[in-house]
């Protein structure tokens, strides 16, 4: 990555502990604007924790994170600004079950941005159309399939017009036949130039969409490479072992 001030996300010397467990060990990662990063690695390697630190769902103890030039610190103002820039999609969707699909997408705009209901609902319908489920707008999340719920979750995040999207294992909780519809939505998003960090084991997606693939193990970044090199000629022994395991 050439020019530093274009970086959407800068993570420098990041350390995090859960109690005495050292979960992230001096992580450095810069993500350029418009770049698509796929993070993979065995479970417990700290991939989710890493992206959850970026919008402070987890607090780190050492090191620096900045998002579009805004340093993440104890300043509430900065944190609010960062969460404006960053959208997140969760493994278990985390839709609000007591609200309809449309309300799920509209209410956060009203509560966080003070938008008028009509404008918020218009925006909600726009993005529900983009993830191709506008006809489900008046249903409750519990009435949808997992794949549909995850697409609603993506629409809900997009309604806040983020510049960066974080995906935390978005397809891991889905039945196999629903993985494709969610990945297709993410591919569309990537093609439109969204800056994305995706934690996933979907290697097909990584090969097709990622600009760089990050491999983590035991809280450390082991290898960062472009997908062709990463998959065909991994540099590290542990990367090779991991790939052999998940490629069968």
């Amino acid at each position: 990555m050439t020019v530093n001030n274009l970086n959407a996300i800068e993570v420098a010397a990041l350390d995090k502990w859960y109690g005495s467990f050292h979960v992230l060990k001096s992580i450095d990662l810069n993500v350029a604007t418009g770049e698509r990063i796929v993070v993979c690695g065995p479970s417990g390697s700290g991939k989710s924790t890493l992206i959850r630190c970026i919008n402070r769902l987890e607090e780190h103890q050492r090191g620096n994170i900045s998002v579009n030039g805004i340093p993440l610190g104890d300043s509430v103002k900065n944190l609010d600004a960062i969460r404006r820039e960053v959208g997140m999609v969760f493994q278990h969707f985390n839709l609000f079950p007591h609200l309809t699909v449309k309300e799920n997408c509209a209410l956060p705009q009203i509560l966080a941005r003070g938008k008028r209901r009509r404008d918020a609902e218009e925006m909600a319908m726009h993005f529900l159309g983009k993830v191709r489920i506008p006809e489900q707008a008046d249903k409750y999340p519990g009435q949808l399939s997992g794949g549909q719920q995850q697409r609603v979750a993506i629409a809900r995040a997009l309604c806040m017009t983020p510049k960066i999207m974080l995906f935390d294992e978005p397809t891991s909780a889905l039945d196999p036949e629903m993985v494709k519809e969610v990945l297709d939505t993410m591919v569309t998003l990537a093609e439109e130039g969204m800056t994305m960090i995706v934690v996933t084991h979907e290697m097909g997606f990584a090969r097709r969409v990622a600009d760089r693939v990050v491999f983590m193990e035991a809280g450390q970044v082991i290898e960062i490479n472009e997908p062709a090199a990463f998959f065909d000629a991994p540099e590290q022994e542990s990367t090779r072992r991991f790939l052999a395991n998940i490629m069968h």
């Binding site: 956060p108 966080a112 009435q143």
Partner: protein, 365 residues
């Protein structure tokens, strides 16, 4: 599709209705096995035992009479209820002004009916309730708009029962929310304060709390201060309701997954808005049955205020039965009051069941 050269054909089966369960013959239903037989026999026995009570309540009862002395035989004296109806319902409220508490009860009923559908729940409804309660208290107190002032010591009967139940639950609820949130807070001072309040109030019997409020509190207040007795009683009931509601609500809060707050944070929703719009509605939906339970218990708890001399419906019924003209018809009085309590509580219970079904219907296809 590499395994099969030709897709295997599967016979198409039309969807059909499930078979009807076979009808059990009556004899088998009542005496099919040992448990059924025992239940049938013991239920029959109980029914036979109840025949004298039925005789007393219906066949031997005196339904209407102008002469109280006809009520001295074995039957129930329902004529007494007819004669004392107004007194039991309105207590010692001045008879010429009893249209006011009647109007208050009408208002309560109208507001409850208007609040049934969750679709209408919101800030406007809360504002309407506050305005309505103000109107009700004005009606009861009088002293304005040409209505004669009536001190709270003259209030009585069903309106007092309803107002105490409604206000103690209504005022206790917001306190309960704060106590429940406080108890789950990561800040030590709100957590300790909530915990101490809840445990202290739950550790005291309601009767004790009522005594403290009605007898001790006036002694502890500086000279010249006075709070109305009904107000003190209401305060005690409110604190009591708040402590119990808080524990119920806390249970609901624990049932809301952490992912909900994480999603709200990631979307940038400010903390208290997330609690109000995202967490609380879900928490409350999860605890409809225990909330109903607490509401019913509180409606009936209001009858304990008779111990400190507040003239609620039960007190009115008791006093009515002491009229020497009638032959001490305590049982009739209590049965009548019990019936009214039952109707109120049964209504609450049915409503909560309807609410639950509505909530559940959202999560199934």
């Amino acid at each position: 599709m590499t395994v099969f050269d030709v897709a295997p054909t599967v016979a198409h089966i039309e969807p059909s209705a499930p078979p009807k369960p076979p009808h059990k013959p009556l004899l088998q239903l009542f005496f099919g096995d040992l448990i059924a037989s025992v239940l049938t026999v013991s239920t029959g026995f109980l029914l036979i035992l109840m025949i004298p009570a039925l005789n007393w309540a219906v066949l031997d009862a005196v339904w209407a009479t102008d002469d109280p002395s006809t009520c001295r035989d074995g039957g129930a004296c329902w004529a007494f209820i007819a004669a004392k109806f107004r007194f039991i319902i309105f207590g010692v409220y001045p008879p010429d002004e009893q249209w006011r508490p009647l109007l208050v009860m009408g208002l309560i009923l109208a507001m409850i009916l208007a609040s049934l559908s969750p679709r209408l729940w919101g800030q406007r409804l809360i504002a309407a309730w506050i305005a309505c309660v103000a109107a009700m208290l004005t009606l009861m107190w009088g002293g304005v708009l040409g209505m004669a002032p009536v001190p709270t010591s003259s209030w009585g009967g069903l309106p007092v029962t309803l107002l105490l139940a409604l206000l103690s639950l209504g005022l206790g609820f917001p306190f309960a929310v704060f106590l429940a949130l406080g108890r789950r807070s990561s800040l030590p001072i709100p957590r300790m304060l909530s915990l101490m309040t809840i445990e202290l109030v739950r550790g005291l019997p309601l009767v004790g709390l009522l005594f403290v409020a009605s007898i001790l509190l006036p002694l502890l207040l500086p000279a010249g201060w006075s709070i109305d007795k009904l107000g003190r009683t209401l305060a005690a009931l409110t604190v009591f309701a708040a402590a119990y509601l808080a524990e119920v609500i806390r249970g609901g809060l624990q049932g809301v997954p952490a992912g909900q707050i994480e999603a709200a944070k990631a979307l940038g929703i400010p903390g208290w808005k997330a609690v109000w719009h995202i967490v609380l509605p879900q928490a409350l939906q999860k605890v409809i049955p225990p909330l109903t339970n607490t509401a019913i218990v509180m409606v009936k708890n209001t009858s304990l205020v008779l111990i400190v001399g507040v003239f609620d419906m039960l007190s009115a019924a008791r006093v009515a039965a002491t009229d020497p003209v009638w032959s001490a018809p305590y049982v009739e009085s209590y049965v009548f009051v019990a019936l009214i309590y039952f109707l109120i509580c049964f209504g609450i219970s049915n409503y909560s069941r309807w609410l639950e079904i509505r909530v559940q219907s959202r999560s199934y296809r």
